[in-house]
Assembly symmetry: C2
Homo-oligomer: 332 residues x 2
C-alpha cells in the first residue's frame, strides 16, 4: 500500500500544506501577542499550543489552493478561522463550566472565567482585523454571517438542550451553529479569495457544511459509544450534562409514556440517579438509535464527497474526499 | 433663557436627531430578533429597553450629519455602535459579577452567566453584519481596531486593577479600552461614511477620544464622591472591588511607606476591614487627588472642545461642544 492509503487524510493534508501552515502558526503567534496584557498570550498559548488538528485552517488553505490561488490572503483567513474557533472554545468552556479541553485543564479552570470571556473577545477582535486586511467585502460578509449563525446556535443549544420538544430539525440548527457554520465558512472563503467561479464557491460551502455536520454527529455519537482514552471524554458526559443530542432525540421521539417520564426526570429536570446512564443506553439500543445516528453521519459524509465533484480534481480534492470518509471512520 | 441653554446637551441632541434615533431603535429591535432563540431578544430587550442615554449612537449620527451626510448608512453604524456597547456591558457584568446595571438587575443575575456570554457574542456578530452592509472597508478597519483596543483594555484592567505598579499611563490605556475607543470609533465612522476630508475625520476621532476619556475619569471620580441616588452606584464600589482608578493611583504615587502598606493590604491583597474606605478617602483628601483627578477630566474636556474647531460650525457642533462641558459638569 502506498502512503496515500495508509496515513490519515488530515495528516496528508498537513504534509502537503506544511509550509503554509507554518506561516499560519507564525501569524497566530504574532497576532495573539499583546504588548500591554501578557495574560492574553498566556491563555491563548495554553489553548493554541495544545494543538488540535488545525482542521479548520487547513480547510481554508486547501480550498484556496484547490481553486488555484497563489496569493497570501489565504494565510490570513486560515488564522482568522483558527482564532474564531479558539475564541468559541474559550467561551464554550465558561458556558459549559468545563474542566478539561484537549486533555488539558481549561483556561477557566487555570485562570478564571473572566480571562476566558475577555481573551475570547480579544481573539474575535483580532480575527476581525485579520479578515479586514484581505480587503474582500464578500469574505467579511461570509464570516459575519457565520459568526451570527455560531452565536445563535450556541444560544439555541443552551435553551433547547434540556427541552424534550427539541427535534432533529432544531438539532441540525444547533449543529450548524456549533460546528458546520465555521467549517463551511472556512472552505467558502478559500474559494472566494481565489476568485473561483460561483459554482465552485457553492460546492466548497456545501462540502464544509456537510463535513461539519457529519463531524458533529460523530462527536455526539462517540459521547455514548466512544473509547474515553481515545476521545478524552467520559462516556455519557452529554447525558450527565443534560444535553439532548441525536441518539437521545431519536429515542425520545419513539418513547413510551414511561420512557418519556424517564427522559423528563433525567434530562428536563436533571434529577439523575445511579444507573440512569445505563438505562438511557438501553433505550437507545432498544430503538437502534445509535445505528440510526451513524447512518445519518454517513449520509452527510456522502453529501460532502458529492459536493467535491464540482471542484478541480487532483491530490487536494482526493484528500478532502478521504477526509469526509475519515470523519465517520472515527466510529470504527 | 432660551431652551438651548437650559436643557442638557444630550437631550438637545436627542431632540434634533429624534427621527434618525427612531430609525436606529427600529433597526436594533429588528436585528436583535432571533427566530430560533427567543432568549436572545429577552436578554437584549432587558438591557436595550432599560435605556441608557444612547450617547454613542447619537455621536455617530451627529458626526455624519455634521459632515453633511444624507444617506442612511449612519443609521446602521449607530446601531452597530450600540450593539457593541451592549455586548460589552453583558460581558462586563459576567466579569465583574455585577448585580445591578442602569438601576435594574443584570442579565447574568436574571438569567445566568451563559446567557450573558452567548447573547453578548450574538450582538457582536450582529454588529459585524450591520457594518459589512455599509460596504466601507475603512469603517470596518476602524471598528475592528476599536474592538481590539476594547478587548485588550478589558484584559489589561483585569490584571492591572489590583497591581499597585499601575500608573497613569496604564490607567489611560485601560480607559481608552473601556470607554474612549468606542466613543472615538463612533464619531470617526460618522465622518468616514459622510466622505469627510481627512482633517475632519481626524478631528472627530480626537473629539471622541478626549470626550470618552473625560467621561470615564468623571465616572471613576463619582465613584468616590458621587451621590448614590444620582449615580445608581454606592460610594466606594471601586475600592471594595479593588479597582485602581485615577484618584487612588495618584494617592499611591505619593504614599508614605505606611500608606503603601495600607494600599497593599486593601487593594493588592483585598483584605479589607471596617473603616478602610474612610481611611482611603482620607488619604485622597490628604494629597488632593480628587481635585487633581477633576483637573484631568477638565483638561480632556477642553481637548475635546478644541478638536471641534476643525469641523463645520452650526447647531450640531455647538451641542457636541456643550456635551464635552456637560460630561464634567456632572461633578457639580
Amino acid at each position: 500500500m502506498d502512503q496515500s492509503t495508509t496515513s490519515k487524510p488530515h495528516e496528508r493534508l498537513a504534509t502537503v500544506l506544511a509550509g503554509e501552515m507554518e506561516a499560519v502558526n507564525r501569524l497566530i503567534r504574532d497576532r495573539m501577542a499583546s504588548e500591554h496584557a501578557p495574560r492574553i498570550p498566556e491563555v491563548t498559548a495554553h489553548l493554541v499550543e495544545a494543538g488540535g488538528k488545525r482542521l479548520r485552517p487547513m480547510l481554508t488553505l486547501a480550498a484556496a489552493r484547490l481553486c488555484g490561488y497563489d496569493g497570501d490572503h489565504h494565510i490570513r483567513l486560515a488564522a482568522t478561522v483558527e482564532f474564531i474557533h479558539t475564541a468559541t472554545l474559550l467561551h464554550d468552556d465558561v458556558v459549559d463550566e468545563s474542566a478539561q479541553r484537549r486533555g488539558r485543564p481549561t483556561a477557566n479552570l487555570l485562570w478564571d472565567n473572566k480571562s476566558s470571556v475577555l481573551v475570547g473577545d480579544y481573539l474575535f477582535a483580532r480575527s476581525f482585523q485579520l479578515m479586514v486586511e484581505t480587503g474582500s467585502l464578500r469574505v467579511l460578509d461570509i464570516l459575519a454571517n457565520a459568526s451570527a449563525t455560531i452565536a445563535e446556535g450556541e444560544v439555541l443549544q443552551m435553551t433547547a438542550a434540556t427541552d424534550l420538544r427539541t427535534d432533529e430539525e432544531v438539532y441540525l440548527k444547533v449543529v450548524r451553529g456549533k460546528t458546520a457554520a465555521l467549517f463551511s465558512a472556512a472552505t467558502q472563503v478559500g474559494g472566494v479569495i481565489a476568485g473561483a467561479p460561483e459554482r465552485q464557491v457553492q460546492a466548497l460551502y456545501d462540502y464544509g457544511d456537510a463535513l461539519g455536520i457529519a463531524f458533529q454527529i460523530v462527536d455526539d455519537l462517540l459521547d455514548y459509544q466512544g473509547d474515553s482514552r481515545a476521545t478524552g471524554k467520559n462516556v455519557g458526559d452529554d447525558f450527565r450534562e443534560r444535553k439532548l443530542t441525536l441518539p437521545v432525540i431519536k429515542a425520545v421521539a419513539r418513547a413510551t409514556e414511561e420512557e418519556r417520564s424517564f427522559w423528563q426526570r433525567t434530562i428536563e429536570k436533571g434529577r439523575q440517579e445511579e444507573g440512569d446512564l445505563d438505562h438511557a443506553l438501553g433505550l437507545m439500543k432498544k430503538y437502534g438509535t445509535l445505528e440510526a445516528t451513524r447512518d445519518d453521519a454517513n449520509t452527510w459524509a456522502d453529501r460532502a464527497r458529492a459536493a467535491l465533484k464540482a471542484l478541480p480534481d487532483g491530490d487536494l480534492r482526493d484528500m478532502l474526499h478521504d477526509l469526509a470518509a475519515y470523519v465517520v471512520a472515527r466510529l470504527n
